[in-house]
């Protein structure tokens, strides 16, 4: 495979994602874990950009790094006092390692050839579609507009769209109630 800039960027983001991901689960300092989590998720955002889904990339940075990670940092601060326990892992650690390795290999050997099979045919079929999409100068905000259309048209996802709102409201109310129990 020739070394294109896209490939270089992909490898960079992939190393960033997986390397920081490993640090997340092995770091003994929880604060560092969250920082590595952010780096890892930033790498995923980069991969989204390479997949020409820039809207999702921006949302990824906005939501995960700007909100979820901050939430985790706050909780770490809230519960800091009991966190300096020496044991990082539970007794299942060895089993978990084996399970994760098996999972990885299984995914690698099952999913990837499958993707090659589907991808092999479909990539041929879709080569023109992708090329067309790549050439269009305004391909992406068409995508965002299509997303918007999908969310609000009745043939699309308008029901999930509204239900999502209920889910979020419920999550917010639930989290407030649960977290404030001590004060009531």
């Amino acid at each position: 495979m020739e070394l294109t800039w896209e490939l270089v960027a992909f490898l960079g983001f992939a190393v960033m994602t997986l390397g920081s991901g490993l640090m997340v689960v092995t770091s003994s300092n929880l604060f560092h874990s969250v920082l590595f989590l952010m780096t890892s998720l930033f790498g995923v955002a980069g991969l989204f950009v390479l997949l020409v889904a820039p809207f999702l990339a921006a949302i990824q940075v906005l939501v995960y790094i700007g909100a979820i990670a901050v939430l985790m940092l706050f909780v770490i601060m809230l519960t800091r006092q009991v966190m300096s326990r020496p044991e990082l892992y539970n007794q299942q650690m060895a089993g978990a390692l084996v399970a994760a390795a098996i999972l990885f290999l299984a995914l690698l050997f099952v999913l990837t050839p499958l993707a090659d099979e589907i991808g092999g045919d479909v990539a041929q079929v879709n080569a023109e579609v992708i090329a067309e999409a790549d050439d269009a100068p305004d391909v992406d905000y068409i995508t965002v507009e299509e997303l918007g259309r999908a969310f609000v048209t009745r043939n699309g996802f308008v029901l999930p769209f509204e239900v999502t709102s209920i889910l979020l409201t419920a999550a917010m109310i639930g989290a407030i109630v649960v977290a404030r129990e001590d004060e009531a």
């Binding site: 896209e6 992909f10 992939a14 994602t17 997986l18 991901g21 490993l22 997340v24 689960v25 929880l30 874990s33 969250v34 989590l37 890892s40 998720l41 991969l47 390479l50 997949l51 889904a53 809207f55 999702l56 949302i59 939501v63 985790m72 909780v75 809230l78 519960t79 009991v82 966190m83 326990r85 892992y89 539970n90 299942q92 390692l97 994760a100 390795a101 990885f104 995914l107 690698l108 999913l111 990837t112 993707a115 991808g119 479909v122 990539a123 992708i130 999409a133 995508t143 259309r149 999908a150 996802f157 999930p160 889910l167 979020l168 999550a171 639930g174 989290a175 407030i176 977290a179 001590d182």
Partner: protein, 102 residues
């Protein structure tokens, strides 16, 4: 263009790392971080398949958007539970909270 299988390898790796974190860490917040990694791996898969298999359909991105929402709701409620448990039992270690375990 970077071939599809590369994205799948990254996604599989991220998913396995997340699964390892979920299964092995004692700290409940660390477990949640593992869950976030796994959700991201699934999102990466969704977007990669959308891009390579069916770029004309918007559904892949719509699903990824819903995964974001679920991840956010899960993080909010999960962390609230951790706070609540911490206040009541003064622990954030998942295996100490085993009252409901059979």
């Amino acid at each position: 263009m970077v071939p599809l299988w590369m994205y799948l390898v990254v996604s599989a790796g991220l998913f396995s790392i997340g699964a390892f974190g979920v299964l092995s860490r004692r700290n409940a917040i660390a477990i949640l971080m593992g869950v976030e990694l796994m959700l991201n791996a699934s999102n990466l898969n969704l977007v990669a398949f959308w891009r390579y298999i069916n770029p004309g359909e918007i559904n892949g991105q719509v699903f990824a958007a819903f995964v974001f929402v679920v991840a956010a709701a899960e993080a909010a409620v999960g962390l609230a539970l951790i706070i609540s448990i911490y206040v009541k039992r003064h622990t954030v270690v998942a295996e100490d909270v085993n009252l409901l375990k059979w």
